[in-house]
Amino acid sequence: MPMDQKSEPAVVGLDPGEADADCVRRTLAGDTRAFDRLVERYQRRVLGVAYRLLGNAQDAADAAQEVFLRAFRSLSSLEEPRRFAGWLTRIACNLALNYRRGRRSGVSLSVDEGDTGLNDGAVPPALVEVSHDPTLTEEVRHAIERAIARLPEKQRMSLVLFALEGLSHKEVAEILDCGIEAVKWNVFQARKKLKDDLAEYLTE
């Protein structure tokens, strides 16, 4: 089943921050299954960020696994459990960017197959053929991905988190540790560059 968009399940009775905090506390108390809830809740976002920043499904799946593993390992360092989502997204951004930088120099993700059990029966990251939005041709999709990849880092991150992942300016600002106006400006600059890069697909 390919990833649907915006599929983070709502938590009945608790606001998302409090529900996350509850899962974080339970995980730290030894209930690893509580972390499963966090994986279910944020897998799509983490994968989305990784995919948009890396432009490759296989790398994005590896990155998503590594993000959750790192989050699990350093969960005790999260000072405000209510802010788990932003903290996790920041890990995803940093990891994807580091991987992207490292990819140019041949460095791979630090996913240890021995740890992940990929060699002994664990489910490998299954890539599937999906039918994309018919109005968005493969050519346009690839053109968008190439244009996004060419953006400067801050503009790319702002655009991905705001325009593609649907986070608010405030959330993006917190994740990127900058001001809201800076996020708006970066989104604008990114759009403007994309407008020029995608000019052949736009009408006058």
Partner: protein, 265 residues
């Protein structure tokens, strides 16, 4: 008209501007006629006034690059508001102003149209599914995290064992040795035990310290080979530990065993 030098110079400086009265001008001209030094000063003021008049008549021309930068900045500010408009960040007044600007500027209207189309393409791209099997990926992530959890727990256990091996075991060994020596030499201090067995057996008090915040077991094995024959059958006993820590002392009666004792702490 008697004038001191300061008043004279002031009048000279005003001479070219024309604000002098007829009396002042007459006095100045009369003085200049007889004083070459003052004529020199007056000549300088005249040249200065001329320079200032010419400077004032020059047209100021702006740096074309600066002009272009200002125009571009203003244009970019309007374009930024177009982007904000797409995101619904403008107030009603700002939107009205932008609409008026767009209506009167075809290039801005084209920019707005194309930026809106770009945002639309991005929205459609965002809706496109990511080609990854979500169920398989979720299983993979959860499996990995659970393995990590187990590994961390095992690692924690090994860590405790290492601490035990490093600190507890030597102390326990020392205690056991002391116990065996005291038992065998029968020089142990005999103190009243909780329930003195019959026949009376030696009660050995051994004091040792365990590492803080650790748990473990101390196994004490009697050296039956070197135990005197008369004691061999009674080589059993009960271990009592008095745990004195930060909390109040508490007795911890533990195992009774023939030939060996174990004390948990």
């Amino acid at each position: 008209m008697n004038l001191d030098p300061t008043q004279l110079e002031l009048l000279l400086s005003q001479r070219s501007d024309g604000p002098l009265s007829a009396d002042e001008r007459g006095a100045i001209e009369q003085t200049l006629r007889y004083d070459p030094r003052l004529r020199d000063v007056a000549g300088r003021y005249d040249r200065l006034a001329d320079l200032l008049r010419r400077l004032a008549s020059e047209t100021v021309t702006a740096d074309p690059r600066l002009h272009r930068r200002i125009v571009e900045a203003l244009r970019e500010d309007v374009e930024f508001r177009v982007s904000q408009s797409i995101d619904g960040d403008l107030s009603d007044e700002e939107r009205t102003l932008l609409a008026n600007q767009t209506a009167s500027d075809p290039s801005l209207a084209r920019f707005e149209s194309q930026l809106t189309q770009t945002a639309g393409l991005l929205a459609r791209y965002a809706e496109a599914p990511i080609p990854v099997d979500s169920t398989a990926l979720q299983t993979r992530i959860i499996t990995t995290v659970h393995r990590e959890s187990l590994r961390a727990a095992a690692s924690g256990g090994r860590s405790r064992l290492r601490r035990w091996t490093a600190f507890g075991a030597p102390l326990a060994a020392a205690a056991a040795i002391a116990l065996a020596i005291m038992y065998n030499s029968r020089t142990a201090t005999i103190t009243p035990g909780p329930t003195p067995p019959s026949p009376p057996q030696p009660t050995v008090l051994v004091k040792w310290q365990t590492p803080a915040r650790t748990s473990g077991a101390i196994s004490i094995r009697f050296d039956t080979e070197s135990t005197p024959e008369s004691f061999r059958d009674s080589a059993q006993g009960q271990a009592y530990g008095i745990v004195t820590g930060r909390s109040a002392p508490r007795p911890t009666p533990r195992a009774t065993a023939r030939g060996s004792l174990a004390l948990m702490y």
